[in-house]
């Protein structure tokens, strides 16, 4: 009994995610329960995805009311069209796809511009190299971080968007292509590769080798 309780507590997830019986379930199963009309599953989806959708929407435009409405519309759509919705193994991807479409549609209405191969001028998608995870131990690492940031500045909005999807959101090329409305996954790959080529110009491999030479032995503990 007691060990159970402790185990339950240790499972509390980080980043303010809300833990429920669904947290340990696969996306596909949670989604299926929601499709079957399980209200708790719907709430679980709302609690866990509302904040990240709110952030994602703001990457296209910083109009709080517009983004809030778009996210609200999305959840209302899910509830109303529940019986007609398809399966998914990746809830975040499914929701992102709907939200991206809704927000770009709302923005084109306002501006009379259709966003297919371009992002609105309000798009953010700025990238940070976080301090906590990118261990800085000496001068050459500070140098690498600085150059990386310079390189990132040179990327286009759409390259930044793809980089975020690939490295931060963990989407694959097929998913990125679907999100960004490419006809082939290959185009998403090319977009990421071109970005990496730009970054490489700013951070030559020789610099990375110096960096490697200076990495402390302590890190080996991680594996």
């Amino acid at each position: 009994m007691k060990t159970l309780k402790v185990e339950k507590l240790n499972n509390l997830s980080e980043k303010g995610k809300i833990v429920s019986a669904f947290s340990s379930m696969k996306d596909g199963d949670v989604w299926q329960l929601f499709l079957n009309g399980n209200g708790e599953a719907f709430n679980h989806i709302y609690y866990n995805y509302f904040p990240i959708l709110f952030n994602y929407g703001h990457q296209f435009c910083q109009d709080r009311a517009l983004v809030k409405d778009a996210v609200q519309e999305l959840f209302i759509y899910l509830k109303e069209k529940r019986k007609k919705l398809g399966q998914t193994n990746n809830i975040k991807f499914y929701l992102y796809k709907c939200l991206r479409r809704n927000i770009l549609k709302a923005l084109s209405k306002n501006k009379n511009i259709v966003y297919v191969d371009n992002l609105p001028s309000t798009a953010d998608f700025e990238i940070s190299i976080s301090h906590e995870t990118f261990m800085i131990r000496n001068q050459s690492q500070i140098e690498i971080k600085k150059r990386l940031e310079q390189g990132i500045e040179k990327l286009t909005k759409r390259q930044k968007e793809a980089i975020i999807y690939y490295y931060y959101e963990g989407f694959n090329y097929e998913q990125i292509a679907e999100l960004m409305m490419f006809s082939k996954a290959e185009y998403a790959r090319k977009l990421v590769y071109r970005s990496l080529d730009t970054l490489k110009k700013y951070v030559p491999e020789t610099l990375i080798l110096t960096w490697l030479g200076s990495v402390s032995v302590l890190q080996k503990g991680i594996f």
């Binding site: 309780k5 509302f50 609200q72 990238i127 995870t133 490295y167 990496l196 490697l212 594996f223």
Partner: protein, 350 residues
């Protein structure tokens, strides 16, 4: 795939590698752990590629406020009710329904007609709310099941006052002492706890509130979900407009004297809920506070000789121990006092 000549820039462009970093599964975990065992010289490059990948994120992060979170949720639920599917009544039912409405209108009319002749009808008097109070005495604790399915573990010498209309419009209770709440989620009827100078509002979460009238500090620790806390301004008798929002592993400590909130992050939740499992946990706690707890916990009265220094800090875990064991443990670590137990009385002496 031959990874032997891979450099950092190759790893960060490799799908299978990224998949392992971002969402490892049994297959990728097995492959990369094995590969690293065979290529220990690549360890640093792999580690650095990993570091680089996980350090990438949004520079500008936009967070919703608690109000926005709740507002949208409520709108979503309300909209749903408005668009409930139309029922397909048959003509017969519709006709019956119309007939029923007509009969009802007639009878209501008749009632009013009759009514006018009679003297003034008795107006509905606002019903006085009555409360049910559940209390525990020293040395006791108990579990309460509320009508909405929420669970309250009441610690020793505590009481929970529940209005008889609990759950009708909202879910409101009054706490004195300490309790662990596991609140069932009901987004339309928030769960509100009055305790001392603090007003705690939640939709559905688990958390612990400590609010003994004779303690200087009130504490609220969140285990799961979100909790909003407002302070009572005793001079105007109003609650603060801006609530403090607490997330899991956060602890709010309110000092009744200075009237200041302090929020601690990343607290050890095991300590918070230990009492519900019969475990006492202390980390650098002074003797005065510990003895106060022991009085409540074991239902005894403890007299402390003035010669005993009560300011020293103690740490320890007592897992379902009897009072004798706990006192023995404390006196052993401190070498500072002796104790005597007789029935429900305890003496602490130099």
């Amino acid at each position: 795939m031959n990874y032997n000549n891979y450099q950092v820039s190759d790893f960060i462009a490799d799908d299978f590698f990224i998949k392992w970093v971002k969402s490892p599964d049994a297959e990728s975990e097995y492959f990369w752990q094995n590969w690293l065992k065979q290529h220990p010289e690549k360890l640093e490059e792999v580690q650095n590629a990993r570091d680089l990948i996980v350090s990438i994120g949004y520079r500008n992060q936009y967070q919703p406020t608690e109000d926005e979170f709740i507002e949208v949720l409520e709108n979503v639920h309300r909209k749903q009710n408005k668009f409930q599917p139309k029922r397909n009544f048959s003509i017969v039912y519709r006709a019956l329904g119309r007939a029923a409405v007509i009969i009802l209108m007639l009878s209501v009319g008749w009632y009013y007609y009759q009514d006018k002749k009679v003297e003034k009808v008795e107006k509905t008097v606002p019903k006085e709310i009555t409360y049910i109070t559940k209390s525990t005495s020293r040395g006791q604790n108990s579990t309460l099941n509320l009508p909405d399915g929420s669970l309250v573990r009441l610690n020793a010498e505590s009481s929970l006052k529940i209005p008889d209309n609990f759950g009708k419009e909202n879910r409101e209770v009054f706490l004195s002492g300490e309790a662990f709440f596991e609140v069932n989620r009901d987004t339309l009827r928030p769960f509100i706890i009055h305790s001392g100078d603090l007003l705690t509002t939640v939709l559905g979460t688990s958390f612990n509130i400590t609010s003994y009238p004779d303690d200087q500090l009130q504490q609220i620790a969140v285990v799961s979900g979100r909790v909003s806390v407002m302070n009572l301004d005793t001079s105007s008798n109003n609650y603060s407009k801006e609530p403090a929002l607490l997330l899991p592993k956060q602890l709010l400590i309110y000092d009744k004297e200075s009237k200041v909130n302090q929020i601690k992050h990343d607290i050890d939740l095991e300590n918070v809920v230990a009492w519900t499992e019969g475990v006492l946990i202390y980390q650098n706690e002074n003797l005065k506070k510990i003895l106060k707890d022991l009085e409540r916990w074991y239902g005894v009265e403890i007299s402390v000789s003035p010669a005993v220094d009560q300011t020293g800090k103690y740490s320890g875990t007592f897992d379902n121990k009897n009072l004798e064991n706990v006192l023995m443990g404390l006196s052993f670590t401190s070498r500072n006092f002796k104790y005597r137990i007789k029935d429900k009385k305890v003496w602490i002496e130099k």
